[in-house]
Symmetry: C2
Subunit: 432 residues, 2 copies
């Protein structure tokens, strides 16, 4: 299969490649070659199908490294609290509703439908503590064609009745969840998901560490989002050397396999060292971090120190499910961080933010988020013809403008692992 | 005329009124009465026309206190510079194009079309130095039915060739512009528009002060947006006691009539006193202030000190023309200001930001931006049926969510001074 159009992708956080009238040669769900259409026609290559998207923009699918599917229903509400109060007043009461399979199915279907039309192709997703509805979410995302890590959430302390699990039961349900999802043998994978340190006893953490090891599963959780939360962790886990160490003690901080930690707004020096050493991924959630008044994560520092990083929408702490918006917000807060916090931390460029939204987060999944040979054929086709500058010769400018101005509905087609999962109108057929 | 639906409006920055199934009784372009539909039907009032908008939300039109129509064409581009470099590299080259009437007419028409479908009903608008194209903008906005102050910009120093006017010519052109627009005797009014202190000699400022006095015209300009700009003003205008004083010396800072100053990110104490004393309006441009890395204006302080304030999109320093987005951004940056700058400055509530976007800015125009009796019948009808919670009983929540999640296309009808200027689909007719 060949996908033809104006191609943009990053190679690293400093390098954006653009190919006017280019094409992606896709084989077995993987990018085989990325070149100009001229080069393709002049080569010995042939293709059974050529999807010609004309003047549209073609970019790698975006990776949302952190969001709560179970909070989608109240997106855009409850933006008047800090983290711990927000959890108690908005997030927890909503998540309790997922004990009801009817509610869960309707709400998760609405989430999946919206995500399908967004720029996101892959995601690390929190469900709730409820095994059955978490499986329903996994099933709906599988059927929609997504590639994702989905976690049944674990909580056995400091949680309201209805969301506070018995430790043994929590672990048993998690094992069931893991085995069921693995049995599908598809692009939806389970991920170990302790909610965050305050919600999990050491006993639960130890059990989750064992499950992670036994099934070779990655881990997702939260780290150092808000000053009050950081204080709470110090109080609750006085034996841990840091917030990160409270995960690391149980092999849940990258030592046994990939781990992604949302937020990381207030990293301690030792923690930073541990993150680097263990290859922990930061899910930088700019929108959530201003919406819940948490602060601004030091993204420039993470980039400079070579710490793994991608972007997260953190629905519904963040109010927008759009990764275009995540790119905007990442850049915007980096400017305020530079101005208000550290004038040594240069604002992030468009290329850097675009890299984070695609390849930065994609690396958590392996060769994902770029169009280099061997990368997963996760492809977005973007129709910016309604913008004023579809005639603009500079492809980077067209993409930048689209990320600032466009709604999700500019996504006109979406491929995941080379498989078409969403298309608004059929492309024309081409031949050389 | 009666407008029927779910009504929301503020009375002051602390009080949001909501009326489920309410109506606005409009007479002579002005709100006569705001009440429930039941009350209306039980009263002796009658109406020739009743526009029934069913379950839709009905709010006052929004007032954009600061934007540059002549920069709309590059919205969403050039977000990688600070103010002075951004002006030189992006804004000034674009504004030069408005010497060409063909370019100006096409670009301004596109601006007006977009603004018409946005939540904005009134605005304070910068054109460029060019008299003829500025008149064209005024004409297009008049024909679209807007109420607005439109300024031909004045610049006679520190400006690139092509945008640097001869002082006498600048004043003569401004007089022509004023007289032509005033002769239309409509809702489009001229406003005195020195670009900002660095661009204007004292001689020009003095002439503009005289024009303001002679024609009883308000003033719009920029104040203390960026630290480098503030330094430049100190260097250029060493006789002025402050940036604000450099306007005040010539009667351009509220002493002779209303003045609105964009940004006010770095106010000095004496300046603040002068603003209070002269009733100067702050146009708080949150998006622009992070996009150009300027900083965050102390909006809470302005509210507490009773300083006049509204919101501005500052197209194209800000990248979004939507006042919904201005509300979001105002709240978001106020949270970061609280967290990073001053934990005594409580984040702005939704009601406060909504007030600023409607009544706060509306006060610059007189009785505008509320549905209290005697206010201009500037009315937005909002269709949030595509959002998940149109069945939500709490009207404030519905509006809040819409401001966070909706695109401009939720505006289904717009009235200015009681006159319908935009409508997507006809409302049904009702009778008691």
């Amino acid at each position: 299969m060949v996908i033809k159009g104006n191609i943009l992708y990053t190679q690293d956080h400093k390098t954006l490649h653009t190919i006017r009238n280019g094409c992606l040669v896709v084989h077995g769900g993987v990018i085989e070659k990325t070149c100009t259409w001229e080069e393709f026609c002049a080569s010995d290559d042939s293709a059974e199908t050529i999807h010609d998207y004309g003047n549209q923009l073609i970019i790698p699918g975006m990776v949302d490294l952190h969001l709560h599917a179970s909070q989608f229903a109240f997106c855009g509400l409850g933006m008047d609290r800090e983290l711990l109060d927000w959890l108690a007043e908005y997030a927890f009461p909503e998540e309790m509703k997922y004990a009801d399979m009817n509610y869960a199915e309707t709400a998760y279907q609405s989430f999946v439908d919206t995500l399908l039309h967004s720029p996101t192709t892959r995601a690390c997703v929190f469900a709730t503590i409820h095994k059955d509805s978490s499986l329903k979410l996994a099933e709906l995302m599988r059927d929609a064609g997504f590639a994702a890590y989905i976690g049944k959430v674990n909580m056995d302390r400091q949680s309201p009745e209805g969301l506070c699990e018995d430790t043994a039961r929590s672990l048993a349900d998690t094992r069931d969840f893991i085995e069921t999802v693995l049995s599908w043998n598809c692009e939806i994978k389970p991920i170990i998901t302790p909610r965050f340190v305050p919600s999990c006893t050491d006993q639960l953490m130890a059990g989750l560490g064992k499950l992670s090891k036994e099934y070779h599963l990655p881990v997702q959780s939260h780290l150092a989002e808000n000053p009050n939360e950081v204080e709470l962790v110090k109080k609750l886990n006085s034996k841990a050397k840091s917030y990160g160490d409270a995960y690391d003690m149980f092999g849940l901080f990258g030592s046994n396999g990939p781990a992604v930690m949302a937020h990381c707004v207030y990293p301690e020096a030792a923690e930073l060292e541990l993150m680097k050493q263990n290859g922990v991924f930061v899910a930088h959630c700019a929108n959530s971090n201003f919406s819940l008044a948490s602060g601004i994560a030091p993204a420039r520092k993470y980039l400079e120190q070579g710490i793994n990083m991608g972007l997260g929408t953190d629905i519904a702490g963040g109010f927008s499910i759009s990764m275009f918006r995540a790119i905007q917000d990442t850049i915007s807060v980096s400017k305020l961080y530079w101005r208000l916090r550290d004038d040594g931390a240069a604002p992030l460029s468009f290329t850097e933010a675009f890299y984070l939204a695609t390849m930065g987060g994609g690396r958590f999944f392996g060769k994902v988020g770029s169009f280099l040979p061997g990368y997963a054929a996760d492809i977005l086709v973007l129709d910016d013809s309604r913008e004023q500058d579809a005639s603009e010769p500079d492809l980077r400018k067209r993409l930048e403008r689209l990320c600032y101005l466009a709604d999700s509905d500019v996504v006109s087609a979406k491929y995941i692992n080379g498989r078409l999962v969403m298309e608004k109108a059929s492309p024309s057929k081409s031949c050389c």
